[in-house]
Symmetry: C2
Subunit: 261 residues, 2 copies
């Protein structure tokens, strides 16, 4: 048996485990998707992989699913953060959806000097990440963090985490491929180090991708980023990309070169 419906549940999964359904889950499964007793649903919780579960109770206000067999183990994405400055609602939603699809491990919205001080609805963005995981067949759901200031994030930047930094002002500069292959590493990185030192190990290190805000980085931010030892400045081609496009393009380059593609 292999279910067409995939559902994220906040509940432990394992052989014989019963999962009580909340009212809206019951409405979705039995009302919208017309599932009946004995029907099969794929479940994942971000921890225990994917399980095929059988509908063992169905009601208007609730129901129960019972886990039968594991259909996928937990597949962790690479240790990649996606950091971005929130923009208009639809495009922010889109970036979170795409980050989950493309296999980011964590999604971090940041405020920059030129970002409008918009609030974000962390719970709504997290729900988008869950929905994207349900759709793309993932067994892991990236955590969406609360909004924080970029400057504060950089104050506490983890020493070992490499940073792929997409600078609009560097349009046409250099390809990520060169960075990843260890060619000419000195050119775009903040620190002086020999290329040989970094060949290969880059792929085994934790990474983050930082997408510039729509208004660009301030000079102060740009200087600080360029000076970081972990920073790798990359180009995303000769045309200016919107932030949401840049997010997908940067993750593609990273996944292809250093990730799990």
């Amino acid at each position: 048996m292999s279910a067409k419906i995939r559902l994220y549940v906040d509940h432990p999964l394992g052989a014989g485990q019963s999962i009580p359904l909340e009212k809206d889950q019951a409405h979705y499964l039995f009302g919208v998707m017309r599932q009946r007793l004995g029907g099969t649903v794929a479940l994942f919780n971000g921890v225990d992989g994917e399980w095929q579960a059988e509908v063992t109770e169905a009601g208007k206000r609730g129901g129960t699913l019972t886990c039968r067999e594991q259909s996928k183990p937990l597949q962790m994405p690479p240790d990649l953060w996606l950091i971005f400055a929130p923009i208009k609602k639809a495009r922010t939603d889109f970036i979170v959806e795409k980050a989950a699809e493309m296999g980011a491990a964590r999604i971090l919205p940041v405020g920059t000097e030129y970002t409008n001080s918009e609030r974000i609805r962390q719970d709504r963005l997290q729900a988008h990440a869950v929905e994207a995981a349900e759709q793309c067949g993932g067994t892991y759901v990236p955590e969406v963090s609360d909004l924080q200031k970029l400057s504060q994030m950089l104050d506490h930047w983890p020493a070992e985490r490499q940073l792929m930094f997409c600078d609009e002002a560097e349009v046409g500069q250099r390809l990520f491929l060169d960075v990843a292959q260890g060619n000419a590493l000195g050119g775009g990185t903040g620190a002086d180090r020999s290329a040989g030192e970094l060949v290969d190990p880059l792929s085994s290190q934790p990474w983050a991708i930082l997408i510039g805000p729509e208004g660009g980085f301030s000079d102060k931010e740009r200087k600080r980023l360029h000076a970081m030892e972990q920073a790798h400045v990359v180009s995303l081609g000769p045309r200016i990309l919107r932030a949401d496009t840049a997010a997908v393009a940067a993750m593609t380059l990273w996944q292809q070169t250093l990730g799990d593609w």
Copy 2:
């Protein structure tokens, strides 16, 4: 002088050339963007590059712009087609916008066996491509074709145009990088030919990217595509991508490897 406002006009551009404004353009420039006599606007028409133009007449129902100097030559994108099966309205709009930003030369919606026979509004999609070009600083606007059947398009496939074919059924199969570098070319292409024959020249040939429909290709379509001499089957990683995500990811791989990035 360098204008912040970029406008696409369907009119020849050149030194001293006067461009009469239509009512809605006048409303946008003078009503919404508060431009006045003597203000500067960047113009492009997809043919003559980008020109800085001065507002030489401004009225409620019209006005005139006069070209002063060329600020960018025409930058043609590589000869890349993006072929996709229309999906929900918002995501179809998104694919067209992204194709223009990412530098596709032509955008071709196709109906496949598993596509709902939705119509498209070619004029609306073309307007999206224009708007994306205005935003991304491009001087070229890709043409959005009318909807046609995939099978008919393949009946008349140009012999020299290579096809990057993203097959959901091939998730995890092979990287485009391998294709582009001419490694193991025999594996994923329809025809038998030696790898050496195709190394390098690939980048000088016209290309197309075909994004699979949400419902996947039919067996018949898949067989036909795999048998094409020009087809290169590529993987977009271990997670299933939505069609709009796949479009951006595939164009990223192509632009980085064979295009103008």
